[in-house]
């Protein structure tokens, strides 16, 4: 069984949010619904080393959508089976079955399922499944001017780009086994950075 995955190069991303806008445009998403989101993680400050003061200010971007997890916690917990996994690993939602209980959005550590108040049901990134079926690329991948996004079979992406990095603020990948490969920005390698814009990174 194929396992489609996204690749994200954090070291190349400029944070322009073109992927975010391409996704909103393709899926006709209203305000508040952002199936692909770009987080800017910033932090650091001054620190004294002996008699001198140095700074460790950092900033990097993280483009995040549904990671079409190998063990999707949303699919497992959806009471209506509205969320399901296709043969190629894409996690999709059948909105005609959804009751809008929002439980999937509670449990997903990537904030992927989002409530659509107009329809009263959940929506999420579907990997542009219609494009995939036509042999095209997902809209976010094609839109990225920095070529920081790619997609393909998970193993092929690992072979192509090397082992994936676990960067802040992503959760422990063991929880859901996300189909995601990341090349970390040099500043993103710190496990617990002193983040100054936590309100942008963590959304309740």
């Amino acid at each position: 069984m194929k396992r489609l995955a996204f690749f994200f190069d954090s070291s190349s991303c400029s944070g322009c949010k073109t992927c975010q806008m391409a996704c909103k445009d393709k899926n006709d998403l209203g305000p508040g619904q952002i199936w692909r989101r770009v987080y800017e993680v910033t932090g650091g400050g001054w620190k004294k080393q002996g008699a001198t003061w140095t700074q460790d200010v950092f900033a990097y971007n993280l483009s995040m959508s549904c990671n079409h997890c190998e063990d999707p916690i949303c699919v497992k917990n959806c009471p209506t089976n509205a969320l399901f996994k296709r043969e190629d690993g894409i996690v999709q939602i059948d909105q005609s079955l959804c009751i809008g209980c929002k439980y999937c959005s509670w449990v997903c550590p990537y904030g992927a399922p989002q409530f659509n108040p107009e329809k009263g049901v959940m929506g999420k990134c579907d990997f542009c499944a219609d494009y995939i079926d036509q042999g095209k690329n997902p809209s976010c991948v094609d839109a990225c001017p920095m070529r920081a996004l790619d997609f393909g079979d998970h193993q092929e992406l690992l072979d192509k780009y090397g082992p994936t990095d676990h960067i802040y603020p992503l959760p422990d990948p063991a929880i859901t086994q996300p189909s995601l490969c990341i090349k970390a920005h040099q500043n993103a390698e710190k496990p617990n950075p002193r983040v100054s814009n936590i309100e942008e990174v963590k959304i309740v």
């Binding site: 995040m64 009751i99 809008g100 209980c101 990537y110 049901v121 603020p169 422990d172 936590i198």
Partner: protein, 288 residues
């Protein structure tokens, strides 16, 4: 919290209250003599089982207010194989059905053994409902809920409200339970309130250590902390009231009138609602 989350506060509290009533009625039915079954067999609108049924029905209506698309609600049973939410809906159904059976088969029945089994069956359905509710919230991606406190608080809600309901029902003559059982129920209620107080403080300490690092989710100051302190004060007052009443049999059995039980009941219900509100307010997830 959004207004819609209030529906979950009421849904979980009312349904656990309903389970608590049945558990606390089943206890004297098994331990006590047959006269404690009078509440089932008399066709009375003030029947405690009917009260439990009304509570679970109210909880179900409240849960619908949380749904974005309630018309699809019957489909919530589609994923019994892996979704605890589906299983919860199922157990609500069987628990409610068991209450309807008790009411239909119990009224006018002269077979106490059969009624005992019905009550035991209903209690088991109630325990299954409690278990599924607990499993919904114990999730590895939600640190504030993925703790010992979730099962402790859910069971504590059911038993505290169930026990105080038993005292109120007895004082109003709606059940006929032996004095020693009422005394045991009072001691059990005091124990539950003590557990509620202790676990409340311990959970607050647990939340403080989690430190989600978000300005709008601070556990040791602001509205959250003030509500926590208010709830603890209510719990301690309720605990003192019941501890004072335990040595006094006439007060305990409502012989001096049930009036003191109403403020106690009000305090317990209010602190449970506030506790549940705090529980939902503590939500944050790992990751982004």
């Amino acid at each position: 919290m959004s207004n819609r989350d209030w529906s979950l506060v009421f849904f979980t509290t009312l349904s656990q209250w309903s389970v608590g009533i049945i558990l606390c009625l089943t206890w004297p039915v098994f331990v006590n003599h047959d006269s404690s079954l009078v509440f089932i067999t008399e066709p009375n609108l003030a029947n405690p089982v009917l009260l439990a049924l009304i509570l679970i029905a109210g909880a179900t209506v409240s849960s619908f207010l949380h749904l974005g698309n309630p018309m699809n609600a019957p489909k919530a049973l589609n994923n019994l194989s892996s979704s605890w939410l589906s299983r919860e809906i199922f157990t609500i159904g069987i628990f409610s059905a068991s209450l309807v059976f008790i009411l239909l088969l119990g009224w006018g029945s002269d077979n106490p053994r059969f009624l005992r089994y019905l009550m035991a069956l209903s209690s088991m359905c109630g325990l299954a409902l409690l278990w599924t509710m607990i499993r919904i919230y114990v999730m590895p991606t939600i640190p504030a809920w993925n703790s010992w406190y979730t099962p402790v608080s859910f069971v504590s809600t059911a038993l505290s409200l169930g026990l105080v309901s038993l005292l109120v029902l007895q004082a109003n003559g709606l059940v006929n339970v032996a004095g020693h059982i009422i005394r045991s129920a009072s001691i059990a209620l005091a124990t539950m309130l003590l557990i509620g107080t202790g676990s409340g403080f311990a959970y607050q300490s647990y939340l403080r250590r989690l430190d989600p690092g978000m300005d709008d989710l601070v556990f040791d100051s602001g509205v959250f902390y003030r509500l926590f302190l208010f709830r603890m004060a209510l719990l301690i007052i309720a605990l003192m009231m019941i501890v004072f009443a335990i040595p006094n049999a006439s007060v305990l059995e409502g012989m001096t009138g049930p009036s003191w039980l109403y403020p106690l009941f009000g305090l317990i219900l209010l602190q449970e609602l506030i506790g549940r509100l705090l529980f939902y307010s503590a939500y944050f997830r790992t990751g982004v």
